[in-house]
Symmetry: C2
Subunit: 274 residues, 2 copies
């Protein structure tokens, strides 16, 4: 099955547009799991077991594993392999390189690690993306507008009357299809999601920045108009509780977000079909 | 010792601005080393032993190791640890993320792996770079103008009369010093090195694209005007020969490049002091 279809199926079957970000940091997990790096794996397994019927995806942020060197990557790969195969997986690696080298990164993420999708940085141009698109059963999410304070440094610079991030979206859409290509758009810029939807009406959007980063799900989902979207929440779910009940409470928090997103989308449909 | 000083010392002591890129791919090393992944490590050790007195740096491209998962990263780390400590090391990882996550990448490359420097992608803004700059004895090389065909997609878009890559250089120079910050500028754009030197007169430039990618060392070094620079050659040195003599012939090829670069710089000085 193509990754795109897998994503549509799981969003429908689990009635959820929520992705949980496994940004797992040894210093932030419950204290009784901090003895060694395997605590990270145990923590991830518990979160996955407690939530896999109410999410559509897990997003694994590579940085948090790379900080422990190859031992961290081994845990990343074990975690990936623990995720049930019907759940969509996102390698949040934000890779960017050219030709030959980009091909090796694509082999790493799609062949060796068998993720369904990856996040990529567009600065180097389409050469970064093309080797990943050769895996035409997979998906790539290209950074368009990120959720950090300095996203304005370059992404919003105006070129021929429009910001760089819209140029990025147009250029990437020239070389791919809605089934293989999505965009990362931070929830801290909900007004810009209107603009994104003008140039990318049907691509999946991957939206971080809800929860700890303070983005508004109402504004994001209003602007998105019920189109294809994945909303990722990391810290506000996985670190919601630090006791032995952390997984159960993470599930409750994930349910809260899933239901919140669904009710906003439901109201949008209702209000727009009156 | 600060990484910047280490780089100046080794360039002076080894009389070399050459960096060798360890873009080691199991399918491209001599056949007798291809039995398993350890062949990559053996290959790297032989190259390092044969060349460490005639280079200033080794650049390790992470993609070629990541394609083998955690086992590849283990070999990357062993290779890094095999490089003599007085030689400058470049983690060519082109990382890009924000705040928290960027901090974890910085911990990975500077603390866990102990590289002297790293390549970073600027699209996300200064937030990507700042956590790396907190390690103020290290160096970062920010991608400005890359050596690939599609580098024009975004890097050369004109904003207020100047290309994006010059905006990137100006912005990055606002937040750092010449001792901590260098730029990656592809050798396939030698005319642009004049423009780069107008806005970044003293930063180190890391120049890939010589050798297999066809950039001209003469044009690059003329434009650079004998300022701080590292020129990287990968495939045309490490894969120059595929027999049991590969390391000896890689050394000869590295000597050729070192001497070529030095003679161009020598002629530049001579011609400009007449």
């Amino acid at each position: 099955m193509k990754a795109f279809e897998k994503l549509e199926h799981i969003q429908s079957n689990n009635n959820s547009i929520l992705s949980i970000g496994l940004d797992t940091d040894l210093m932030k997990i419950p204290e009784f799991l901090r003895d060694d790096l395997n605590g990270i794996y145990s923590f991830n397994c518990s979160i996955i077991e407690a939530t896999s019927d109410i999410v559509s995806a897990y997003k694994i942020n590579f940085a948090f594993y790379e900080q422990y060197g190859w031992r961290g990557i081994e845990i990343l790969q074990k975690t990936k392999n623990y995720i049930p195969s019907h759940i969509f997986t996102i390698a949040d690696a934000k890779r960017s390189d050219i030709g030959n080298t980009s091909r090796a990164y694509a082999a790493s993420i799609f062949k060796e690690m068998e993720f369904d999708s990856v996040t990529l940085c567009p600065y180097i141009g389409v050469d970064t993306i093309l080797p990943f698109l050769e895996f035409n059963d997979k998906m790539v999410f290209v950074l368009a507008l990120t959720s950090n304070p300095s996203s304005n440094d370059f992404q919003n610079l105006i070129i021929d009357g429009e910001p760089l991030y819209l140029k990025v979206i147009r250029k990437m859409n020239e070389i791919s299809t809605d089934e293989n290509l999505g965009f990362v758009v931070g929830a801290t810029h909900p007004n810009d999601i209107y603009k994104v939807r003008e140039v990318a009406p049907f691509n999946y959007l991957l939206v971080p920045g809800i929860g700890a980063q303070g983005g508004s799900p109402e504004k994001v989902l209003q602007a998105n108009k019920n189109r294809n979207i994945i909303i990722n929440v990391s810290r506000d779910i996985i670190y919601y509780d630090k006791t032995e009940n952390f997984a159960e409470l993470a599930r409750q928090r994930a349910e809260y977000y899933r239901d919140l997103f669904n009710s906003i989308n439901f109201n949008f449909i209702k209000n727009n079909s009156l």
